[in-house]
Symmetry: C2
Subunit: 246 residues, 2 copies
DNA sequence: CGGCTGATTGAAGGTTTTCAACTTTTGTGG
DNA sequence: CCACAAAAGTTGAAAACCTTCAATCAGCCG
């Protein structure tokens, strides 16, 4: 560690410039010089154990988080207890953007496994992104990407039937694992059937049944959370060529 | 018009500092000085006739738009023709944020009535928001608010039943009309039952039936697109105290 | 190893969709 | 300005899809 870098808790200081997640994370597309400046910004890392909250709805908003290791879900709770999972996040993805609007977090972020995040103080981010054009631009892209992703989820929830939703979900997971250097065809889901169901607007039994049908039809091999995709094209066809639903 | 302001098409130059939508729009919360700078940014206005596109999915992204008058819907189309309405936008709201991520628009924006928008060149916005802190902050808030709104829609689509969705929709519209100085209890919807249905993940017949039931139960008086809310609290109760749906 | 959580599967029930007929409103052109 | 066609909205009955309820099975952790 360079002497110029201020020492933080137990040498946990992060350096984006050294991180292998650069291409997936906030720094994507930034120049060498810009990257160096980014290292000023990113504070200590924080470890979150499985099932623990990174933040809760109502918490004051102070930072956004880049997932360094592990994975999360975000959800919104209705007063009567109903839960809606709004997303699953993997390494390199940014959490906490919901808090900017009211300066309070509006959803819960919960680790699906033991995880680690880089803490990015939001005040500092605004400050630095006024100076570093690449950072500003990239940050805007990250927010916009989240909006586009949300529209995709609305499409799922509003216009697709159960099996289409699950197929789209699996293809999306596959693609994101691929981007992280993992197998596109074989992966391990960190979330339960109930969480998948909540995300897709389905009951867990419906998710389970859809998995079984996919297995029967030879699209995938399912063993609990372990998924092997056998017919990628078949899943894609499923999404587009089904009557309708609602 | 001041001589220092560059003259654009037919004197259509907008001045945020003069606009009565300030409190609802991008400039909200900015200081007098900051507002003056904002006037540099906002280009000509553009009129969009009913049913016309402000932009289409795939169009190159160059600007975001502030709705000066009228209203819009945004939607995403699936290859097989299915449409998902992702939102309805009213005066003061910002359109086009979806385009930042890929520099191509990812959805369609269509005027629900003859409308007018202020064109905000995105490159200029980034430039100016590096100089004007209040603008930067406000722009981030606008994007974050969109993300939070989207989560709310996911909740609707994923966890609520037909009547709950429509109740939530009506209450949301009422609140937004109120914010614009219109009656909270009586308003005119600019979209069809089919568009409402698409937004809520329901078929138009289901929307129509839900309207009829609300009328029978005395929650609202419905006459085609004209809505009168008779029992606001009743609608609110509907949202929280229903068994479940899916 | 036992108890727990998570997952699977079947049968019955419910909500929403589909199909269809009909009414009302809107828009256009004579 | 009326007439008429097209679009939008309403309503009923049947069907489809998903949920609910229930029982069973599998895997995991202490």
């Amino acid at each position: 560690m360079k002497a110029t870098v201020p020492v933080t808790v137990a040498g946990l200081k992060t350096a984006c410039s050294q991180c292998n997640l650069v291409e997936l994370c906030l720094p994507f597309g930034m120049s060498e010089n810009e990257l160096d400046r980014l290292d000023e910004l990113v504070g200590a890392r924080r470890k979150i154990k499985r099932q623990q909250n990174l933040y809760r709805a109502g918490d004051p908003f102070e930072a956004i988080y880049a997932i360094r290791a592990g994975s999360f879900k975000t959800d919104v709770l209705l007063e009567d207890g109903r839960e809606q999972v709004t997303g699953f996040q993997m390494t390199g993805e940014i959490l906490g953007l919901d808090g900017i609007s009211t300066e309070l977090h509006s959803c819960n972020a919960i680790a699906l496994e033991d995880s680690e995040v880089c803490v990015i103080a939001y005040a500092k981010l605004e400050e630095l992104s006024r100076e570093v054009e690449g950072l500003q631009h990239q940050f805007h892209k990250v927010m916009s990407r989240e909006i586009v992703r949300d529209h995709g989820v609305m499409m799922l929830l509003g216009s697709m039937r159960a099996e289409e939703r699950l197929a789209a979900f699996l293809l999306n997971m596959s693609q994101r694992f691929t981007a992280r250097g993992f197998s596109a065809a074989e992966f391990h889901l960190r979330m339960t059937r109930e969480e998948i169901g909540s995300y897709l607007g389905l009951k867990l039994e419906t998710v389970s049944r859809a998995f079984s049908r996919f297995q029967d039809e030879g699209f995938v091999a399912v063993q609990q959370k372990h998924i092997r995709i056998l017919d990628n094209a078949g899943l894609k066809r499923l999404i587009q060529h089904q009557p309708c639903g609602r």
